[in-house]
């Protein structure tokens, strides 16, 4: 369990702020930050009608499969992907080798603009994520599990 991801309020606000700027500056419909294992971390834009949980899981699966193709071809990874739809386009990029940045956009934007803005946002996200990992690994933050007792866990499964 050494590579557990922990998110705190402060860092989530920073990540969300970066997503907000990216979404606005790229004229995107929505921006999502997703853990490589498929957990949604932060989001911005028109997400209320999206199934964020499913989208996150499938995007992570997609990135994992593409990563598998990369290693078969002796590539380190394919850092970016672009899916073109009739109404919605999807830009997927890997940030800091750890998270996935997903941008959904339509005719109000363009691939060039999204790519340009993603590059800037990715650099900013990397800084926040590195700080988050350090904070989490330092182990001096209070852990929810320190308070949870075996009885609490048992009670969760009592019918």
């Amino acid at each position: 369990m050494s590579n557990q991801l922990v998110m705190y309020e402060e860092e989530l606000q920073q990540l969300t702020a970066i997503c907000d700027v990216l979404q606005r500056d790229s004229n995107a419909k929505a921006v999502l930050v997703i853990d490589k294992n498929g957990q949604a971390i932060a989001q911005s834009g028109e997400v209320e009608h999206l199934d964020v949980t499913s989208l996150s899981s499938l995007t992570a699966g997609n990135v994992a499969a593409t990563g598998g193709i990369a290693s078969l071809l002796a590539e380190k990874e394919f850092a970016g992907q672009f899916h073109e739809g009739e109404k919605t386009n999807v830009h997927i990029s890997i940030v800091g080798a750890r998270v996935i940045l997903l941008v959904l956009f339509d005719e109000r934007s363009s691939l060039g603009l999204v790519r340009l803005r993603v590059r800037k946002a990715a650099a900013e996200l990397t800084i926040v994520l590195e700080a988050l990992v350090k904070k989490s690994e330092a182990g001096n933050q209070p852990s929810v599990f320190a308070e949870i007792t075996d009885d609490d866990i048992d009670n969760l499964f009592n019918d």
């Binding site: 590579n3 991801l5 949980t53 969760l156």
Partner: protein
């Protein structure tokens, strides 16, 4: 890899159902999906072939309630059981917090069970995991079939380390939630232990 979100007060964990082709991994998830309240589950996604065989994975997000104000959310995944989808299986094991091995009780599937269990150990080891150190349960499915092997024999061959095991008939739901609860509990206990 669990994801603890102090901002939204959520504990997120990943459980993978592993086992040979047609052992009932997807059936487990379908039963859980059908019997869970709508507010506790998300959409179930099945990336399957035209003949309903799992191609990449099934995915079911499930909420199991709150502990000390934290919502516990489990992401359940199955792997494709067919031997030639090994590359996909490896990908799905990434970041796993708990494993359920679903064995097919039919005598003629014993070899496929053994091969799949070996494959699970190998693929976990490639990701740096040791099955003996992971939260792990075994389910013997299809116990209602007339050609099912005796429980003692299945236990000896497929559960030599004596992890929690359950007899199941996944199509009827027998043993399905018992297995899920057991592995979820092991995952949370392991998280607590590691904190």
């Amino acid at each position: 890899m669990s994801f603890i979100n102090y901002s939204s007060r959520e504990i997120n964990c990943k459980i993978v159902y592993y086992g040979p082709g047609l052992c009932g991994k997807t059936t487990n998830l379908q039963y859980i999906y059908n019997k869970t309240n709508p507010e506790a589950k998300g959409k179930m996604i099945s990336l399957a072939t035209e003949t309903e065989r799992t191609l990449f994975f099934d995915f079911l997000p499930l909420s199991l309630g709150e502990i000390r104000g934290f919502r516990t959310r489990f992401h359940l995944y199955t792997v494709p059981g067919q031997v030639f989808y090994d590359a996909s299986r490896k990908l799905i094991l990434k970041g796993v917090d708990g494993v359920v091995f679903v064995g097919d009780s039919q005598v003629e599937r014993m070899e496929a069970n053994i091969e799949s269990l070996d494959n699970l150990r190998t693929n976990l080891a490639e990701q740096g995991y040791d099955l003996d150190k992971l939260p792990y349960c075994v389910q013997f499915n299809k116990r209602d079939l007339p050609n099912s092997a005796p429980l003692e024999e299945l236990t000896e061959v497929l559960n030599p380390t004596k992890v929690p095991q359950f007899e199941a008939v996944a199509t009827k739901g027998v043993g399905v939630f018992d297995t899920l609860k057991a592995v979820a509990k092991l995952v949370l206990t392991e998280l607590k232990r590691g904190s």
